[in-house]
């Protein structure tokens, strides 16, 4: 009973939050509602017994990703409302719905056909965190390491991209501008 109540409350709130995210003109609203939606989704994870994933959702999505977005938004004028030309079309909504249903069909297909084999069932008598640790560091060790490397590379890329001189492009500059810059550099050296 409580689970049903919680589920319905959470779902309705999540849908509302995400709807605000995609429909609002104010980026700050979008940010806040998206963050709230993420936390609500972590609630689903807790309900489904995936405690560890729930906490990871909170820490990574809300703590890190949304904070990064917010950090990035400070570069833009946040409180200004954004103007977007709206040619509203049913095609967009239809297309999205069809795509969503198809994706879920592909997910559900094996389940309905009872063709899904449980490869890594949760360990008996272990908490969710322990089971995840066991599977992650045995069967999924290589993907885990790859994910780690990917994160490292992404971090380096982020730092480099947001670095100082990335906004000047030698291909977009004219010859004179490049020459001038070179001259300025030489002057400094002298």
């Amino acid at each position: 009973m409580f689970e049903a109540i919680a589920f319905y409350i959470f779902s309705i709130l999540t849908i509302i939050m995400f709807y605000i995210t995609i429909s609002t003109k104010q980026p700050l609203y979008a940010l806040t509602s998206l963050g709230a939606g993420m936390i609500l989704i972590s609630g689903f994870f807790f309900m489904l017994g995936a405690d560890f994933l729930g906490v990871v959702q909170i820490i990574v999505y809300t703590g890190a990703i949304m904070a990064l977005y917010a950090f990035g938004m400070m570069f833009f004028n946040t409180t200004k409302e954004i103007q977007e030309p709206r040619h509203d079309s049913g095609a967009v909504v239809t297309l999205s719905t069809v795509a969503a249903i198809l994706v879920i069909m592909i997910f559900v297909g094996p389940i309905i056909g009872d063709k899904m084999v449980s490869l890594y069932p949760p360990l008996q008598g272990a908490t969710n965190t322990q089971s995840i640790g066991m599977v992650l560091f045995t069967k999924y060790l290589v993907p885990f390491e790859l994910a780690a490397i990917m994160l490292l590379v992404a971090m380096v890329a982020g730092i480099v991209l947001a670095g100082k001189k990335m906004d000047r492009s030698l291909t977009l500059m004219t010859e004179e501008e490049i020459a001038m810059e070179q001259e300025a550099k030489n002057k400094v050296l002298v």
Binding site: S11, I41, A50, V60, M73, V92, S96, I104, P121, P143
Partner: protein, 101 residues
């Protein structure tokens, strides 16, 4: 009234559709990023629900890796966004057409 896999998957469908609508309708790049996050999250719900109802940790593993991918995506994407903003002073999708044929 018990909540089954179907409930979660329908929720996942709805959120996925919302995300796709956002991806197609949003003109502001930042909000486009937000929409992609919605897509990823909706799929995560599906994964974890299947994992729960079928007693298999693979779904949770996938969700975990999706979160990792999302984190890297933000780091790189936001970096690109900032570079673009510095250069063009806007992040409007309709003005990103220097690659047109």
């Amino acid at each position: 009234m018990s909540i089954g896999l179907g409930h979660y998957l329908i929720l996942s469908i709805i959120l996925f559709a919302i995300g796709l609508v956002g991806v197609m309708r949003r003109k502001n790049l930042l909000l486009l990023f937000f929409s992609t996050e919605i897509l990823l999250n909706s799929v995560n719900i599906g994964f974890v629900a299947i994992s729960h109802f079928h007693h298999d940790l693979t779904g949770q593993m996938f969700a975990l890796f999706i979160i990792a991918v999302a984190a890297s995506e933000v780091a790189v994407g936001l970096g690109l966004l900032i570079v673009w903003y510095k250069r063009q002073n806007n992040i409007n999708l309709d003005q990103m057409n220097s690659m047109k044929g």
